[in-house]
């Protein structure tokens, strides 16, 4: 240990401690002056505000903690919807960019270049304030397929009314568990005896048959509730029944998925291009069919390149969903760091909770990614 090694570290430590000390001293003085005491006790207080759209029951009599949960669930909802659509669009566009058809390739490239180079916030505003405002009023809306109503007040879709929903879910869980076992069994069988089992068709069959059985014998039944138009006042109409997806949710999900899809498309393209041509030729030369080449040789190697950056994009999408605050979609930032902060004035506590939530989310995903990367990395001898 020499002085040259210790000195810079001590200096850094000193500066960091000084800065933090300065900040926390000031914070204490400021809070004393304003008569606030630091603490998270306010979370159990009555919130006395209402949220437009929430997945769980919420009104003014619930606590701030429940408001936090409402915001978190809404964030998760829009992120999941966005991730699903972004993945689908991204894969399609990514493959289209590799097509040997010039027109398809150019169309996909134009889409990617265009949507990637426009700020996400601008796209959200565009969909919310410009595009969705051109939709018809509820009373003028034309039904799509007779049951969907796309109006300026939101997207009204039919809802399922379930009887014995839990049995249905149990049957799904049973199907998934048995599929996992079948996969393990099939893999072992292939390694030991070299015989392939048609896992995919068995899985699909199980996923279909078990829920159907639950309908037939488990007493599960579902009826569809179609939204019906209802007059509120002279000119005010709305739909009753079914599920209402507010326009905020639609425009946010639309913008997030269209924007993120461009990045996922680039990941997919890079992944497929990253598999060297020799691999395909070698696979074909040992007599694999084109399908097998794709399934057994190209995809496993391409996925190894595709998945890490794509997970990063999912993470970005989740973080970008916080832009919801700009169009008043009640997500974590708007409900908790917006309304709750305004009411309680507890800036430090609330902003720190919000940041910690996102931080723990992204750190857990990146830990998972590190583990996954290690698992799929090529093991060289």
């Amino acid at each position: 240990m020499n002085i040259k090694k210790i000195l810079p570290q001590l200096l850094t430590l000193l500066v960091v401690i000084l800065i933090f000390g300065f900040f926390s001293y000031n914070a204490q003085v400021n809070m004393e002056n304003r008569g606030i005491t630091f603490g998270y006790g306010f979370l159990s207080q009555e919130s006395s505000f209402d949220v437009q759209f929430s997945l769980i029951e919420f009104d003014g009599s619930h606590s701030y903690f429940r408001a936090y949960l409402v915001g978190l669930l809404n964030t998760i909802l829009v992120s999941v919807i966005g991730i699903i659509f972004a993945t689908v669009i991204g894969i399609v566009v990514g493959i289209a960019r590799l097509s040997n058809n010039y027109l398809i390739k150019r169309t996909a490239a134009v889409y990617v270049e265009f949507f990637r180079n426009i700020p996400l916030l601008l796209q959200i505003f565009f969909w919310y304030f410009a595009a969705l405002r051109a939709l018809p009023l509820p009373q003028d809306a034309e039904p799509m397929f007779g049951v969907f109503f796309l109006t300026i007040k939101g997207f009204f879709v039919p809802a399922f009314v379930w009887n014995n929903l839990n049995i249905f879910i149990y049957s799904l869980i049973a199907a998934i568990i048995s599929i996992i076992f079948i996969r393990i069994y099939a893999k072992r069988k292939q390694e030991n005896e070299g015989i392939q089992t048609p896992v995919l068709s068995i899985s699909i069959g199980l996923l279909l048959i078990l829920p159907i059985l639950s309908f037939l014998f488990g007493g599960v039944n579902a009826s569809v509730e179609v939204p019906v138009i209802k007059q509120l006042s002279q000119s005010g109409f709305t739909y009753e029944g079914g599920i209402k997806l507010p326009p905020e949710l639609i425009s946010l999900a639309l913008a997030l998925s269209l924007y993120t899809a461009t990045f996922i498309a680039e990941c997919v393209r890079a992944g497929v291009q990253g598999v060297s041509k020799g691999q395909k030729e070698a696979a074909a030369s040992i007599g694999l069919t084109p399908n097998q080449v794709l399934k057994l040789v190209v995809m496993p190697q391409a996925l190894r390149i595709i998945i890490p950056p794509t997970t990063n994009q999912y993470l970005n999408l989740t973080k970008n969903s916080s832009l919801a605050a700009a169009i008043a979609y009640p997500d974590l930032v708007l409900v908790f760091a917006g309304t709750a902060l305004m009411q309680t004035g507890r800036a430090i506590e609330i902003v720190s909770i919000t940041m910690l939530t996102y931080l723990s989310l992204s750190i857990s995903i990146s830990l998972f990614m590190n583990w996954y990367n290690k698992k799929i990395a090529i093991k060289e001898k």
Binding site: L103, I118, P119, F125, F129
Partner: protein, 480 residues
């Protein structure tokens, strides 16, 4: 030989297949074209569904007929290879062509034919197209925000000056090339900082600054005439003398007091806005986030545990939270951390917040470049007796940075696209101004025009940046 099999066109009856195919294809395109441009349905005598699908079927058959391998016609082979390799491809190509033809007339009419640009009030916008008058009237606001109109030349002049100073690198002679890095990394940002914070902001401080600039310019010009022996002393003494002369001998202050010279009006940062604010914020964040990111990335690979874990903590923290919460923090939480009497300007807080945020991303990108360098480079540098800083500045960083040009360009693009978020703290750059203009009672209902306008602007800026980074990448590409 002459047997025609329409299911399998071959080379033997080339002309028959070709003519039939081309006629069918042209016919189908013509039908769609006529339908979309002149609003006439040539197939109205047929039942609805058939007339809807007939062009597609005709075109599909046409493309099938001209799909002849090795026809000997260069153009035909090219078409077949590019858009017509198999049935599925032909179908998709047709769909794209029809979609383009179908969507052209409404787009054309909205953008140009039915659009209005004349006049200066909402009343002229009666057509079904876009109302570019709105953009024309609000153009100043979209560009400069609430900056007072008579003072806008200051923003223009600063940007022109900075753009000119930025391009000096292209004109530099061989002799000065080696100072370019120093110029761009240290001198240019400082000049830019002074320009923006004193010239655009204005106020009395500007005069000290302007004396400084004039002194520097005069002394540089004279500097070339002085023998090199005395240059060192010269560059210290002369600027100060010129400065003092300007300030105390020529009595500028008295001229101002007499009203012969006007001072610049002070414009608070809250009034800045529009596209110029986008440029200012992204420019500063860009020049600050790069060095911070560089140090963080070096810190992350450092041997000193405290520095290493401090860097890791910084990087992971900023990367883990959304920018909007960082801006929330800078606007509502950060003032709590400062002494009562200390106040930091909104714009400065925003620039610090975004710089720290983007620096974490830059750090990760640079780390990728550092990791990609082979161990041998470090060993070779060390064996030549170089210390840590010398090794990094002369050997490691030039190679690593070259490798990560695309990544850094992507981060900078993300930065430019993130600037609209500053609406959170109440600063209105172009997207914020659009939202403000949209709610103006005199100009309701033109949201679409505004967003399209801003989208086009951002697209041009970002696309140019990405193309420029691609050029840089090609320029500095070295074979390894």
């Amino acid at each position: 030989m002459n047997k025609l099999n329409f299911l399998q066109p071959d080379k033997n009856n080339l002309s028959t297949y070709l003519y039939t195919g081309v006629v069918l294809l042209v016919l189908s395109i013509f039908i769609v074209f006529f339908n979309s441009f002149f609003n006439r349905d040539l197939l109205s005598f047929l039942p609805g569904t058939i007339s809807f699908f007939l062009p597609l079927i005709l075109g599909f058959i046409g493309l099938h007929l001209i799909r002849i391998d090795y026809s000997g016609l260069k153009f035909l082979d090219k078409v077949n290879k590019n858009i017509n390799t198999n049935n599925f491809n032909a179908f998709l190509s047709l769909l794209i062509v029809f979609a383009v033809i179908k969507s052209l007339p409404p787009l054309l009419s909205w953008f140009i034919l039915d659009a209005n640009i004349a006049g200066d009030s909402k009343d002229v916008c009666t057509g079904s197209g876009a109302c570019w008058t709105y953009i024309k009237i609000w153009f100043n606001r979209f560009m400069y925000g609430m900056y007072p109109n008579p003072e806008q030349w200051r923003i223009n002049l600063s940007f022109v000056a900075l753009a000119f100073l930025g391009t000096i690198g292209f004109f530099a002679t061989e002799k000065f090339k080696k100072y370019l890095t120093l110029y761009y990394v240290v001198v240019y940002p400082i000049i830019a900082f002074f320009f923006i914070f004193f010239f655009i902001s204005g106020g009395p401080i500007f005069f000290d600054f302007s004396y400084g600039i004039i002194a520097a310019v005069i002394s540089t010009i004279i500097g070339f005439l002085i023998p090199s022996k005395f240059k060192m002393y010269y560059f210290i003494i002369v600027p100060i003398t010129v400065y003092i002369l300007l300030k105390y001998v020529f009595f500028y202050e008295e001229l101002i007091e007499l009203g012969k010279l006007e001072t610049l009006e002070w414009v608070e940062t809250g009034a800045w806005g529009g596209l110029s604010l986008t440029f200012i914020v992204s420019f500063f964040c860009l020049i600050f986030c790069f060095p911070i990111g560089l140090f963080l990335s070096l810190g992350r690979r450092s041997d000193f545990p405290i520095i290493k874990y401090f860097s890791i903590g910084m990087i992971e923290f900023w990367r883990g939270v959304p920018l909007i919460t960082v801006l929330f923090m800078s606007s509502v939480m950060f003032p709590m951390f400062l002494p009562e009497d200390m106040f930091i300007d909104k714009l400065v807080r925003v620039i610090i917040a975004i710089s720290l945020f983007e620096a974490a991303y830059v750090a990760e990108v640079i780390r990728g470049g550092l990791q990609a360098l082979p161990r041998g480079q470090y060993d070779a540098a060390k064996s030549l007796g170089m210390g840590y800083w010398k090794m990094h500045i002369l050997i490691i960083l030039p190679q690593a940075l070259k490798l990560v040009i695309p990544g850094i360009a992507n981060t900078f693009l993300a930065l430019v696209k993130d600037t609209p978020l500053i609406f959170v703290v109440g600063l209105l750059e172009i997207v914020g101004m659009l939202n403000l203009a949209k709610t103006n009672p005199d100009w309701l209902g033109f949201a679409m025009e505004g967003y399209v306008f801003a989208s086009v602007l951002f697209f041009i800026i970002c696309y140019a940046m990405s193309k420029y980074s691609y050029n840089l990448e090609q320029k500095y590409k070295t074979e390894r």
